[in-house]
Symmetry: D2
Subunit: 281 residues, 4 copies
């Protein structure tokens, strides 16, 4: 059997870029992490070390910074589409360009009830993400939220599951439900205003999580995905990854202290991981 090259790609990851957009009344500060990945006619590079069709990843990085001045002006989706199109249209050997952007969120600090014009606070784990894939004839845009830590202190139960030889978990009608979730959705058709869509979908996700009487993470996951699809006709499907950030009741009764569902051990590992796609027929 002959040996051959299969699927392959290359690009620059983790390009850290920040931009100041100076508005008359305030400065807008944006910080993003950009990754570029190219697929195409790269067989000779692998088999013969022929670099004549290789655009170096260092050049990809320079390109991202250079094009940000004129083309990163609004949503990360618009910038990612521009970048992906640039690589496909200027590099004939590139069949598909994928540009992924994660935006780190900053908020202007509040002083005396007003947003300060140029001072920001950041540091949250939540990021607004997008992955744009472009070839000669088509483009796909999948946006999302990464590492959103949400938690509810009630309206979550977990009961009536299978018991077997190895079961020790106790059923509960009232537990903490916490997850550092990553949610993505594909737009089809593409919207005119990505930022408006993002804000609207994020609001639906939070509202559904808050209002849901959860019987399991699976049920909450499905409810969140379905709510987005019901409210946003241009979302094709929603994929949710919900790692369970367990808050385990500490056994106070062993010390003759009454258990009233108040004191928990917060654990990172091991963790339940529930993931699923909600889609349209």
């Amino acid at each position: 059997m002959k040996i051959r090259l299969g699927e392959n790609s290359y690009g620059k990851n983790a390009i850290q870029l920040s931009k100041i957009i100076r508005h008359p009344a305030y400065h807008e500060f944006r910080q993003i992490t950009v990754s570029v990945s190219l697929k195409g006619d790269f067989e000779e590079a692998h088999t013969n070390g022929d670099n004549s069709k290789i655009l170096p990843t260092d050049t990809q990085k320079n390109t991202v910074y250079a094009l940000a001045k004129d083309h990163f002006k609004s949503s990360v989706e618009d910038f990612a589409i521009y970048l992906a199109n640039h690589f496909v249209s200027t590099q004939p050997q590139v069949g598909t360009a994928t540009v992924a952007i994660a935006e780190h969120l900053y908020q202007r600090i509040m002083l005396d009830g007003n947003e300060h014009p140029h001072t920001y606070i950041g540091g949250g784990s939540e990021k607004h993400t997008t992955v744009v894939t472009k070839d000669a004839t088509s483009v796909s845009v999948t946006s999302g939220i990464a590492d959103l830590l949400i938690l509810k202190t009630t309206d979550s139960a977990f009961e009536k599951y299978i018991k077997d030889t190895y079961t020790t978990l106790k059923e509960t009608s009232d537990r903490i439900l916490a997850t550092k979730c990553t949610i993505t959705w594909e737009y089809d058709p593409l919207p005119a205003d990505y930022t408006e869509q993002y804000n609207s979908i994020r609001e639906v996700l939070l509202r559904t999580f808050a209002g849901h009487k959860s019987l399991s993470v699976q049920q909450t996951l499905y409810a969140m995905g379905a709510a987005v699809l019901e409210s946003h006709a241009n979302v094709k499907d929603v994929y949710l990854e919900m790692p369970n950030k367990h808050h385990i009741p500490f056994n106070l009764e062993q010390f003759n202290i009454r258990h009233e569902n108040e004191i928990f051990m917060a654990t990172d590992e091991p963790y339940g991981l529930i993931s699923g796609r909600v889609t349209r027929e």
Copy 2:
């Protein structure tokens, strides 16, 4: 020369504890990381393996969870003082107990302009910290803010510094100033309401950072510390660690694009680290 034991301590670190405090109108969710460290008469444990004066770190952990039910009701400072006192007063061999707590910040999500009664969003890097040290006769309380990421897009310069053989940095009258800072302050005398003090000091720090026309990180650091001392008579001194989160102007001119101080490379390493204490004479 004889060999002997010098300074030593032991304890349990990174005890992850969460609590629900159920108020009539809403649930208060709190998550803290607690570390306990004990010093005292532990020489025989080291030199002879005599554990008769050792309270195991596992027991320290259990104690933190057990005491949280009745004694973690308001500020992390009050709980840390209670814990430190517990170890000193119940364990005669313990000379000094140090309890450090970092509180992870959660906010109730906003829906339709109202805070939801039991749904939270977390994930920020900022933490409210305290370190309480207690011996038989005295107690010290040093509180602070850890990993607060703040940034301003203007009102920061860096000029007129030393130039030598190895200088390549260009002077600038307008740069991004960003820092993921950790700030601590010692209370003396101790306040009645730690949470009120914390919120008030945090507000002074943010206000000073925002309003300061910075000529260097050192100058901003000093201004922030001094502002706290001026406004809070019961703060003895302030210690600030300000790692510089560099946003380096990307060289667009090499591509014949005009530099207008808009596009930056955000870098984590290497980083400038400025630290200093502001105190009273």
Copy 3:
């Protein structure tokens, strides 16, 4: 358009398990991270909150620990196959069970030229991994090496690539090639002795990396994958992810110091990411 559940799975991740296997002459210490993921008939759990077919992730965790006593005795592959089969064969609602194991590597310390019988040193980033996927009729075993940091100080060039408006990278006939690579390969047919196969493949990968006169990361990647396929008939294909750990020549000439390719800046971000599959026709 009706909304429905698409692909979904759930399970317990990051189960940290260690085991002592007591041999007459020495103790064998093993530490692994296990993740379980189940797919099957879970639609009612999502849409109705019906947990009657849900084996809790907590029970999955208990099962892994309980079965480790008798069934984790040799390779991680054998244990993963046993676990995956357990879930598929005891839970009729489970269509496919995937068990992923990463083994952390420990070596007995050397004293006076001998391995100590029960003292180990660990802490390396490299891990031996396997992913086993099992359904009612078939099993696939994909093993690999994760986070292997390898580096060569010469025999690596990067030249004759595309130059465009945004090119600043200089060609080099002699650079450092470093990568923290993750490599996986699928066995088909399955071998009798997974540990022997793993050691043999790892040796081929290191030998090829060391001996290769690299004209690009792509070429080295292909050579490494091809060497495994040429030497191991029961490997179906090899997938390599080679993030470039850049060591960038520091510009000494700006200080009138001669550049002799000696002093480098080691950077983590941004990084080139080259990935590809080498397979058989």
Copy 4:
């Protein structure tokens, strides 16, 4: 009470530098992380924003790279001393310069029983560290090992400790002892050959850890420190931080499986932290 500046310092942290030293028969690859911290006459910088005595941290970084060519040739201690002396002797406003270096360890790969001349494997957590502090008249050198993960599967007990209301830990005469330790020692007088000293001290630490019949982490810590002082007359004292990497016996008996001290849960948090100094009278 007047407000004034207290202790303060500034410098560049996390300068990542690698070097190839080309020997006739092989290439020596070295990778280090350097941090510089300066103390001195910097009051005006803080209070007035006067930068005339500030050597920028960017220049410090350049200096480290520039001086590495001629002065990083053997031990990290020799290079750190050279750097610290450079800052103190060329910058009159600097009272004290502290240079900390952590060396990342690489080993040449073995092929056919021989070390390959220019191919390395790295990625271990263990680092060789040094902190050099220099003022006009004196120098101190404190070297060490950071993040050394060592483990023994027997010869470790923990019994006869205090029991109180909150005790749940069971006594054990045979447990896993594991620690990711950081150990530092001060040289006085300074040795001629730092690398030889480092290797010799590391060997004593490992030998003592392996051979010790441990009754507690405290006792092992003391034995390790004492062994270094007994064997190395030019070591003044030894400081050891030994975070306990717990391997907790999994309760198999709840499933009617016999407990034979074989299966453990490896946990990162919470963790016992034992630290102490062993010194001379």
